[in-house]
């Protein structure tokens, strides 16, 4: 279980391997305090939606031999929970905190790559954690290299440094002494 967590946070982080939230991580890094509500809502929605979606797909879809349809049912469940939580946030805090793409992808990954309910929750929360952990790195790189605006040159610097971060986190898993590499 510990190995699962480390795998999905650092070793094979979803944000880096699938590129699932890379753009949003860069956008969030420009204004982290205003994105707090979005991140909180993402966390709540992903945890709830992946639990329910795993239960529906394990108890109903698999018995009916329809387990290939899990993205469809998880989308319906995700929409319901996302609208509910967003309406609560709008009523109480009067801020719009809508986020669809990465939350839904994390729910899909959690439901599709797990073999038990615990594992589904662990995988979804590890995906969110890896997304949260990437944002301070990007903020630090932006402050160190005095990147302030959303120009193309600044985006270029940020993307190159994300590529370097990926090389650093995954470099130990490559067989460098293979004759084809050098």
């Amino acid at each position: 279980m510990f190995a699962d967590i480390i795998f999905y946070i650092i070793v094979s982080s979803t944000v880096m391997i699938y590129g699932a939230g890379l753009n949003r991580a860069v956008v969030f890094s420009y204004s982290p305090h205003q994105s707090m509500f979005k991140l909180l809502k993402m966390f709540l929605v992903v945890i709830t939606a992946s639990t329910l979606s795993y239960l529906v797909s394990a108890k109903f879809l698999m018995i009916a031999d329809l387990s290939e349809l899990y993205p469809f049912t998880s989308l319906l469940i995700f929409m319901i929970i996302s609208s509910f939580i967003e309406s609560i946030i709008r009523i109480t805090a009067k801020i719009s905190a809508s986020e669809f793409a990465i939350s839904y992808l994390f729910v899909l990954i959690g439901t599709g790559e797990s073999t038990s309910l615990t594992e589904c929750l662990l995988i979804s929360s590890s995906c969110i954690l890896s997304f949260f952990m990437l944002i301070p790195f990007i903020i630090a790189i932006r402050y160190r290299s005095s990147v302030r605006q959303k120009n193309s040159k600044d985006f270029f610097l940020i993307y190159i440094s994300i590529a370097i971060i990926i090389i650093i986190t995954l470099a130990w898993n490559v067989s460098w002494l293979n004759p084809k590499v050098f």
Partner: protein, 208 residues
């Protein structure tokens, strides 16, 4: 328009270029799926306006896109299971990013042909660019060009193996290599757009 097109380019390229191996065969299948999904998104938006359910469009369009991604994936499982194994998660990434793109471009239209033109034009331009990048990564990393077939990918050898060339090219076949390609393309694209805009402004000043 400039920030819009750059955001669309970034969203589409991170969804299509990063997660998959840099082989031309996978690129062909994914870009076909992307164009079909854009068609389906445009068609469903027109349908929604016709039956006057405009408020529900943020719910219905993703449902149609994910359903189409499911159908494509299962068709691919029937036709070529090996490719479906590699691209297992890819169709949903493509569907989500094409929903993102279509929500940008199309505010409120009732005309099917104009809706189609604006949606398909940007994805066709992006498909041409992405096919070129896939071919470049294939040749630089493996020296072959691949096409999809029922047993997997069929490869055609283009370059003879030479150690110096393939080791540098192998970097472009990896995930950081894809990110470097995206960053460089984005800078070149902005420079071209800036110069184009300067020429436009100068021409309109000359006319006056």
């Amino acid at each position: 328009m400039k920030t819009n097109s750059r955001l669309i380019f970034l969203a589409l390229s991170t969804a299509i270029l990063i997660p998959f191996p840099g082989r031309l065969g996978y690129g062909i299948i994914l870009l076909l799926a992307l164009n079909l999904m854009t068609l389906i998104a445009a068609a469903s938006r027109v349908l929604i306006v016709k039956i006057s359910l405009k408020e529900l469009q943020h719910v219905i369009v993703p449902v149609m896109l994910i359903t189409s991604a499911l159908v494509f994936r299962n068709l691919l499982v029937m036709i070529s299971p090996v490719i479906a194994l590699t691209l297992s998660f890819g169709f949903f990434l493509t569907a989500v990013s094409s929903f993102f793109v279509s929500s940008f471009f199309i505010p409120d239209m009732e005309n099917f042909s104009s809706e189609l033109k604006t949606g398909i034009k940007s994805t066709l331009v992006f498909s041409a660019y992405a096919l070129f990048i896939f071919a470049f990564r294939d040749i630089a990393g493996y020296g072959t060009l691949t096409v999809p077939s029922t047993e997997g990918l069929r490869s055609v050898l283009i370059l003879q193996e030479s150690r110096g060339f393939t080791s540098l090219g192998l970097f472009f076949n990896t995930i950081p290599g894809a990110i470097v390609i995206i960053a460089v393309t984005q800078v070149i694209y902005s420079i071209i757009l800036d110069n184009y805009r300067k020429i436009d402004i100068e021409e309109s000043a000359d006319v006056r």
